[in-house]
């Protein structure tokens, strides 16, 4: 027997013992370890790169009217407590405007009428929630890319950040996407759902549709779009409410 065999045997034994120990209760402790979490996040980075590589500019599937879900589940925040928001809701958002600012040539204040007057995209898509359910809905609104083009991006701009009117546990909801998704043709600011103005529980007056990602990226109650060079300085620095507070993946392609 060679030393090589011994080492290998010991290694296998260690591996087996490690596996056993891991499953017998070490998982929770491992789950708290910063180094281990970083290792696990390595797969997130791999997912992001692999998906982008395979996908290119591909469009998400679109469906027919007959495929529309009879019930569209409303998840996350379904109402907004903020008094200013409630006043706008009561008046049908007549005097409300979407703010577009940050790293842009021209900051914009776009009333709902202006967003409705822009070229519209209508799409029937499947909404995939991170929890595992799906529902098919019809969405209409201007492409985000067109809105951003109106504002004119400065060269340093890398991410579009969506500031929302809702709070969860007292903390503001926000989300962000990169410019690849921001300029994807199916990324729209939907003010219409299933041929009616967007109801409150689905994110009135405006909801982001970013069809190749999971539901939590589709920010509701969008008040302001800020163009930034980095996500590090914002709130928890991970680019979104769920990313900051629960360590959800920033890129939610799976």
């Amino acid at each position: 027997m060679s030393e090589h065999d011994l080492t290998r045997r010991r290694l296998l034994g260690l591996g087996a013992a490690g596996a056993g120990g891991l499953l017998l209760g070490g998982c929770d402790r491992l789950n708290e370890s910063a180094g281990w979490r970083e290792t696990l996040h390595g797969a997130t980075a791999l997912n992001h790169r692999a998906q982008r590589l395979l996908m290119g500019d591909a469009l998400a599937r679109e469906f027919a009217e007959s495929d529309l879900s009879s019930t569209f589940r409303a998840n996350g925040s379904t109402s907004v407590a903020d008094a200013v928001y409630r006043a706008h809701l009561a008046s049908g958002f007549a005097s409300w405007a979407l703010r577009v600012d940050g790293l842009v040539h021209r900051a914009l204040d776009l009333p709902l009428s202006a967003l409705r007057a822009m070229p519209q995209r209508t799409q029937i898509t499947r909404h995939d929630c991170v929890e595992g359910w799906s529902a098919i809905g019809k969405w209409q609104g201007p492409q985000l890319g067109q809105v951003l083009a109106m504002a004119g991006l400065l060269p340093a701009a890398r991410y579009a950040v969506f500031h929302c009117a809702d709070r969860i546990g007292g903390r503001p909801y926000y989300e962000s996407i990169d410019l690849i998704d921001a300029f994807h043709p199916q990324t729209i600011l939907a003010w219409r759902m299933n041929d009616a103005p967007l109801p409150e529980r689905y994110g009135a007056p405006l909801r982001l549709r970013v069809e190749r990602q999971l539901g939590y990226k589709h920010a509701k109650f969008v008040m302001r779009i800020e163009l930034v060079a980095s996500l590090a300085g914002l709130f928890g620095g991970k680019g979104g409410y769920w990313e900051d507070h629960r360590d959800y993946q920033w890129y939610a392609g799976i």
């Binding site: 998982c27 789950n31 979490r37 797969a43 998906q51 996908m55 879900s69 799906s134």
Partner: protein
């Protein structure tokens, strides 16, 4: 005598670890929405073919999930990391076996294996726990071949493909939900395939234990399988 090459052994232990973690983190992910549907979409109780949403908490308890307390985000982190391990290890192992021709020679059932009389005899042997000893144990019997082929060419690729189909990004790229009959169907098949893999693993381990655990485990650790001395 030499029985298992190092790729077979490495693959088995890696799979044991990966499948255990994937199963346990998968049950936590299922806990987030414990219903299954057929078709493209589904979210409500009336649409489900399986609804485990009880009034008293989560359907799968903490001792069988990763992590043990409800946490969908962390379960996903574990799940995707070990999913890459499972998928890469499967692809490498399958490629290695195909190149050596071993899969075709030893695992793919032959016509004689599938003769009803032969299968029936093999089934009765299994149920009676009559296991081949010595040199006969080195060849796979018909039920073994069928089970191994079903796992290698059926359940593992199915669990990988249905997992990928649930990704909205990969769905845009590959349209897997079109082939599989919808995202909700893919999720149901993912759950069923995972259940099939756990059932296979349990029976597979049970057979190793019944047929001679020391020799079987030694062979899977070191590669060496001990044949009995010839009587006389």
């Amino acid at each position: 005598m030499r029985r298992h090459g190092w790729p077979t052994r490495a693959w088995h232990w890696l799979n044991l670890l990966a499948m255990a973690v994937l199963f346990m983190s998968g049950l936590m992910i299922f806990n987030a929405h414990p219903r299954l549907y057929w078709g493209e979409a589904g979210s409500e109780a009336g649409q489900a073919w399986l609804d485990l949403w009880g009034d008293d908490g989560l359907p799968f308890p903490g001792w069988i999930t990763i992590p043990s307390a409800y946490n969908l985000a962390d379960a996903r982190l574990w799940h995707f990391f070990f999913a890459w391990l499972l998928a890469l290890a499967w692809a490498l192992y399958l490629g290695w076996n195909l190149r050596r021709g071993r899969l075709m020679r030893e695992v793919l059932p032959r016509r004689a294996d599938l003769a009803p009389a032969h299968l029936w005899q093999d089934l009765r042997d299994h149920l009676a726990l009559r296991f081949p000893r010595g040199a006969a144990a080195l060849r796979y019997n018909p039920l073994q071949k069928l089970a191994y082929a079903a796992v290698l060419a059926g359940l593992i690729p199915l669990v990988i493909v249905t997992g990928m189909a649930m990704s909205p990004a990969l769905d845009a790229a590959l349209r897997l939900t079109v082939v599989l009959g919808g995202r909700a169907t893919a999720r149901s098949l993912h759950f069923l395939a995972a259940g099939g893999l756990v059932a296979f693993s349990a029976v597979h381990l049970g057979m190793v234990l019944l047929a001679g655990p020391v020799n079987g485990l030694r062979a899977m650790l070191t590669g060496w399988y001990r044949l009995p001395k010839e009587p006389g």
